[in-house]
Symmetry: C2
Subunit: 505 residues, 2 copies
Amino acid sequence: MLRLLPLLATAAAVWPAPKSISLSGASVKVQPGGAAFFKLNGTSPLLEAAFERYAGLVFPHRAAADGAALASLAVRVVDVAEGAPQLGDDESYALSIGATAATLEAATVWGALRGLETFSQLVSFDFDAGSYEAAAGAVEDAPRFPHRGLMIDTGRHFQPLASIFEVVDALPYAKINVLHWHLVDAQSFPFESKSMPELWRGAFSPRERYTQADVADVVERARLRGVRVIPEFDMPGHADSWCVGRPDLCPSETCASPLDVSKAATFDAISGLLDELAGGLFPDGFVHLGGDEVNTACWESTPSVAAWLKARNLTADGGYAHFVKTVADLAIAKKRRPVQWSEVWDHFKTDLPRDVVIHVWKSVTNVADVVAAGYDVIRNVGYDATSWYLDNLNVNSSAVYGNEPCDGIPADLCAAHVLGGHGEMWGETVDASDIDGTVWPRLGAIAEKLWSPEAATIPTPADMLPRLAEFRCRLNARGVRAAPVYNAEARSAPPGPGSCLKQRR
Amino acid sequence: MLRLLPLLATAAAVWPAPKSISLSGASVKVQPGGAAFFKLNGTSPLLEAAFERYAGLVFPHRAAADGAALASLAVRVVDVAEGAPQLGDDESYALSIGATAATLEAATVWGALRGLETFSQLVSFDFDAGSYEAAAGAVEDAPRFPHRGLMIDTGRHFQPLASIFEVVDALPYAKINVLHWHLVDAQSFPFESKSMPELWRGAFSPRERYTQADVADVVERARLRGVRVIPEFDMPGHADSWCVGRPDLCPSETCASPLDVSKAATFDAISGLLDELAGGLFPDGFVHLGGDEVNTACWESTPSVAAWLKARNLTADGGYAHFVKTVADLAIAKKRRPVQWSEVWDHFKTDLPRDVVIHVWKSVTNVADVVAAGYDVIRNVGYDATSWYLDNLNVNSSAVYGNEPCDGIPADLCAAHVLGGHGEMWGETVDASDIDGTVWPRLGAIAEKLWSPEAATIPTPADMLPRLAEFRCRLNARGVRAAPVYNAEARSAPPGPGSCLKQRR
């Protein structure tokens, strides 16, 4: 019989690799159950919903239960408060699987969620015996970086709610805890603003839109999985779609972008939008304000804007500085930490409020300088065409894994100021048909670089790709349409017949 | 505002086109509800499960209900008996949406399911008003062909249960009513046989397998959606994977295929397998026995088989005839109609039992002769590299739609003997990552050719592609990862930013 991988889960099968895992090699027969398989020392609606999900994930087949030694997982959580997940939540947990009892301990519900995922990866179905087996042993685990994210772009293509739900559902399988939602871009504005309902007219079509109730459903679905949702409204560039509904916020009909820096109405509009975001819709402490790829030519060629700049003795770049600092201050006043892209640092450095988180994506941005100046950083690790931009289809899983978040940064500054990183799924060629294969399995490689101890991932372990292939098969079994691991080009079709574990290159 | 398609559903938005549809142009505001929105004149577990599903599909957004005129759909079914769907079930229905009441009438639960789908396509969400609108009017509908299928191949790649569930879930959206499950092939044998558990050793890996409980779950999920499941065990060719567990059924270790025609054990094994299939696991009246691409060289080069042929004065082709007729008779004895591929007709014509259904896929098969001889036919419409084989990635939606099921057949014989057709998703380059995009939207084009009146599809209507794009957006919104409609190559990525309705070529 082909036994490409042992039926009993091994330490190597757990993805991302835990801080510490020690398996005895023994297996324990498990009695499958529903949500009641998980016994919590208290009451937690969030964990009860998680138990329902994990009962389905751990026990996908009908099975015999006779002779099973393990009939439950005891879950002990010190503080079952839930609320909304935030940066720095304690995600640590300890898991122990013994011959007659299994226990998961965590300080918070967020840690318990991470431990449930690990437990699900240590139970396997033995098709020959028709029963479930758990790998006996112990896990102590906690993330290397607190901020581990995926960006999705719903401005270049509308992603139906069903797509976003499926993306959110899969994130905790890799212990990803942030969804950075690049909601709008130059091409379309699908978001429903209550303060500016006209903006919605910038959607691709009347139905390629998100109601605020839809958005709230995404945020809640993510919260239940321990995933923060950070909205991005990119400004002042990448904002042409704002002009469809609010042409008054743009320099002119012929020169739409960047947003008009000269008008108070522009900042009033943004302030109103930020009030909506911070008023309960997005409970996360971060808000992303973009700031990238700003071409100020429109400002210089539009007489009213040029006059405004001149009256204030500002260059176009000075106008750009005024814009990004003003909106950052607006966010801070509304108790949100602004996140802004590299260029904002490149242009204005320590003129920026210290609360700004710099989202580094360009090789010209000296990340060591950023952290030395005391700014927190989210890294799109690697640079430009070799980075964690998931639209770089030629950057395969090995290359993704080769990017190291602390590269070029002293260890103490990395620990102090690199919050983590993102895979960024820019949406030019990504719609509902190919989003899963664009994101996975490469987001898995990113997840391990951000969760697992540095020593476990540098140098790249020899078994990384087979382990990632195993994780990809698991994703597939859970309904996530992750692409083959070994293809040179991401999201391409399997080249010929074969096992998902040993897909040919 | 971009209004690529009106918010109110039009007759053109219903896919596949009904036999008769007449909309008044008026819209009726609908009060969203759960399963209780649908009021049945009786009791039907199958329809109650369908009401749950369609409540989610019809009302995907939270909405205001004030001022709504329509608060329910009355569903009247003459005979709520369900059992397992079979060839020729009455799938007709009549749907009426008026200013204050809406009614769906059908003779059977299967017709009611088809009508629910049409109803779901006539209700739309008005994002600006925050409410649901139904298009007022009347539909009378029934299929052109009774047999409208998709073949999936789980021999070349294992498709996880989650994948198959998602495939099954989507079939009724296009009123497809048959899943032809090509379970095993030369490369792997993922099916659990209770009579021959050794066969399972031919799976790609211990976990790339289906338990009988898994299979039963697929069959039940399909039944609830009015979808018949026809299992295929291809024989005597394409059967190398049988030899892993049962080498005694194969000519020799070095010459594995076709299965050994000379041994009684071969037919005993097949008889046992058929007993399992017909013993409740697959309630459908059809069983597919393959019979294609049989290369008899192994029989002639294996001394024991060659001697057996000689003793009976049989050529190798005579051995092939003996094989396919014997297994067809076995199926008939177990009250199943055998389906066999083209080659079986090409070789043996009217020697075949009259109950055999010929599954035509090759241009050399003269389909007019087949039906003239009184045999029933399932067509893979079009021929060879231009056919409905969904692995023909260069056959785009327009080309798929251009294939006509009655081509080359007198109308009366087509009506009498062409049961319908299939899209065939051969799995060499299809795994969980790309199955949806391989199947959809082209299966939608096939579905309309098989459901809608001939006059509605010949010649291809000018609005076919925009209508299919609309249907594809609907699939995407329902979580089906259907590929863009306009690409020259099927399942390729969208070429650039844009609306799903107007994807660039």
